[in-house]
Structure formats: C-alpha cells, structure tokens
Symmetry: C2
Subunit: 246 residues, 2 copies
DNA sequence: ATTATCTATAGATCTATAGATAATGC
DNA sequence: ATTATCTATAGATCTATAGATAATGC
C-alpha cells in the first residue's frame, strides 16, 4: 500500500507539501483565503497568494471553486450562520427581552472575537458592503431587525423620559438610534480585535454586554443579574442546539 | 484673451471636460480617490478609474502624485488632522474630564458622519490597517491615548464598585476595556453611516455622546448637563481655533 | 474511470515611466 | 520657459480556461 493509499488520497499529488492534511482541500482554501482576505483585503489577495498558502498551483483552486468571488461568498455565509441560528432560537425563548438581547450581544461579541482569522472583519470590506453579495447582506439585515425588536422590547416603558421627553427640536428621537449604537458596539469587537488582539475575550464580551444594557437605561444594580441570566440562557441553548459557544 | 486665460489655466488643455473647475487638479484627484477608495476599496480602485472621474488620462495623475499610495496617505492624514487639533485644544482646557471627553466624542462622531465621502471608512481598509501607513497609525494611536486619559479621569472615583468590586476571576478588569468600548462607539459611526446614510447627524451624535457617558457610569440626570457643557466647550473652541464644527 | 492535481497560456488588466504637445507667462 | 496635460508603452501582474498527468478505485 502506497503513502497516498494510507491517507486515502485521490488524484494527482501536490507539487508542494500539504501543511494541513487534516482538512479537505476546499477547507484549506477557505482557511487560507479567510486569513489573506482579512489581512490584505479581497482585491489585494490574488488567487496565487491563496494557492501558495495552501501549497497548490494557482489554477488548481478552480477545481474546487468556480470563481474567486465564491470563496468570499461562502466565508461570509458561514460567518453569519451561527448568529442566525442563535437569533432564531432566542425568538422562541420565554426569557425577558433584556435577557434575550444580552444573550445575543454576548454570543455575537464572543463569536466575533474568537472566530478564526477575525473573519468578522470581512463585513467591513468595501467589496462586500457595495459589491454583489446580496444574500449575505439580507441575512445581516434580518439579524439587525432582530436586534431592533429586542431593543424595542427591552426599552419598552424604560427611558421614556429620554425618548419622549424633552424632544427640543431633535428631528427623530426614535429608538432606531439606540439600535445603531448597540449593533455598532457589537460590531466594534471586530476593530477592537484587529487593534488589540491581546485583549481577553471574556472581559471584553462582558464589558460590551454591560455597556449595551447601560446604554438602554439599565442601572448598575440590575445589570449583573441580566448578564448572568443571559449566560444561563446561552448555556441552555448550547445544550439544546449542540453548538459551541464561540 | 482666450478661454483658458480668462480662467487662469496653465498647461495643455484636458481631453475631457472639467467637472469641478473650482478645485485644483490635486484636489480633484483627492476627491475622486476618496470617493472610489471608500466605495470600492483601495486595491480595487485603479488609477484609471480615478483619472476617469477627474476627466484626465490615467498617466496624468502622476504629474501630481508620485505613487497611488501617496494619494491615500494624504487622505488619511487629512482625515485625522481635525481630531488631533481638537484633542490638543482639549488637553489644555480647564473643563471637567467628563465634559472634555464628551466634547471629543461629539466632535469626532460629527466629523465622521459629515466628512465628505465617509472618508473615516478608510481607517477600516485592510491595506491601511496592515499596510505601510505608519505615520497615520501613530496619529491614531495618540488619539486613542487621549481617549484613554480622559476616560480614566472621567471614571476616577466612579464605577469603583464595578471595576474593583467583585473581580470574581475576571482576568483583567481594567478600564482599558471601557476605552475599547468608547473608542469603538465613536468609530461605529463609520459603519452606521455606511449602512444608514439617511440618519440625522445631530441625533446620532447626541445618542453616541450620551451612550458613552452611560457606559462610564453616569446616570440620566447628569448626562444632559454634561452634553450641554460639552457643546458649549466645542463652540468656544470653534471660536478660538476658527474651525468648522464638522 | 474518476479524482485532484499539474503545466501552459490567453486576454485583460494595472502601475509607472518616457517623451511629445498645447496652452500660458515673460 | 514653464506648466499640465497628452500618447504610447514596458513590464508585471491577475483571473480563468484548456488540456495533460499521476494518483486511486473498481
């Protein structure tokens, strides 16, 4: 039995050495592409650079993916997917809105901070924001819509003073802006990670979750309880869905 | 007197029409480049695309700039410059730290939201974060350092309960994480603007400023006063420095 | 026969340089 | 003479396709 037979390998052998024999070729390509797209950007990453990192020839990529664009497409969809699963689960949960919101914030922040290669930063690429990645953008905007619903419910009856109160000429004092801020705080994990990779995921995630609650008008006394309940909810969910927390 | 003499134009006439005769050629190039770099990214924007938007030939760019990279460099330095001027001014101001911080947050948020072409989003380009733009990154990190000092002072004696209190195994309960969050909130204006350009600058800016104060443990009662004082401080500064507020 | 690679290359870029040219300024 | 453009192009890419090849599977 040959070497290739032992490993169950098919096809012509690679010219280079295989640095990640544990992964299938498409997964190796996705991993290398994620790394390079995040580090250099999409347009600045050539298919040759991806192939070099995988240890195959540039043209060999096209056996696994029909176009460079599709590699990014797949990475994007995989990156939102966990958030969407958690979002769907939380929609059906009976916990108070503030707890569900905090669970979502915590999960997404942790996800963004711990996912390999800071893939969340792919969201920030101009090619993605303004390019032809419609399906991905639709997913993202439905995630934002859930944030909006949870924030709306969480804030219900709270912060009335601020929102309805002295609207002294403020053109549009709606909670839309709180949604902007909360969604923005979660997304900011991407740039925080890029700038300060040595940060501790748990401390940062907790700080973000607490900060969101403060922004929505909760005071210090109740925040710890809500954060703890959110952690419990996430743990339950983890058991139910069989997902990893990160 | 010819047409060109009337306009005070020198050199060979352009082949195309000049869409912005009010600006010098370098300014036209910077404006077109800003627009395209933000919309498509740096690497995805060819010098030809910039030249087309300006109405000159691709090679003519190189009379004004020696390399494509230098166009981006100049845009970046111009974009941080106003923040740095305000930062320096606020360092010397006698207002309470919370007011100075709020002034800086307000100024930067407004700047990011109203600057032409959302140039703040250039900060997010991988080519900038990981490329050879050292001078710019140094400026940015000294701005962050001022945020850190102001936050540290603002928080002094406040939130002790949270920061020093039940450090139940949290690895690094320092205010560094609050700096991450506040700096991140301000930066989030960039993506908020990209996603929701119809937002109102004043409402968003105020919401961000208030949210920062909430995150730092201020309660609703005092926040309005601090925000108002910050606006007054900015107005004074505007008079002193002769800067526009945006 | 099937699979996964390889080599070779077409065709389309893209950046930057060289040198010509069409205006004004003096 | 100076200025700001132009035309032309070298040389280096880059993506994607065509077709050959070296393995296993049956």
């Amino acid at each position: 039995m040959t070497e290739a037979q032992k490993k169950g390998e098919r096809g012509r052998p690679r010219s280079g050495t295989n640095p990640r024999p544990d992964l299938s070729a498409p997964e190796q390509i996705l991993d290398a592409a994620a790394h390079l797209f995040v580090e250099r950007g999409y347009s600045a990453t050539s298919t040759r650079a991806i192939a070099d990192e995988v240890g195959i020839r540039q043209a060999s990529l096209y056996y696994h993916f029909p176009r460079k664009e599709q590699i990014l497409e797949l990475l994007l969809m995989r990156t939102v997917e966990p958030s969407m699963i958690v979002a769907d689960y939380l929609e059906t949960s009976g916990s108070p809105a503030a707890v569900r919101l905090t669970a979502l914030v915590t999960f997404d922040s942790r996800q963004l901070f711990t996912a390999p290669h800071n893939v969340g930063s792919l969201y920030l690429l101009p090619e993605v924001r303004n390019g032809p990645f419609e399906p991905f953008r639709i997913e993202r905007s439905s995630l934002r819509a859930l944030y909006a619903r949870l924030i709306s419910e969480s804030v219900d009856g709270r912060m009335d003073a601020e929102l309805a109160g002295p609207s002294d000429g403020a053109p549009r004092p709606s909670i839309d802006y709180l949604v902007d801020v909360v969604f923005g705080m979660v997304e900011s994990v991407i740039t925080i990670r890029a700038d300060r990779s040595e940060d501790d995921a748990t401390v940062l995630t907790t700080t973000i979750a607490e900060s969101c609650l403060r922004v929505l008008g909760h005071d210090g006394a109740e925040i710890r309880g809500v954060v703890a309940d959110a952690e419990t909810l996430l743990a339950e969910m983890s058991g139910t869905l069989g997902l990893s927390a990160g």
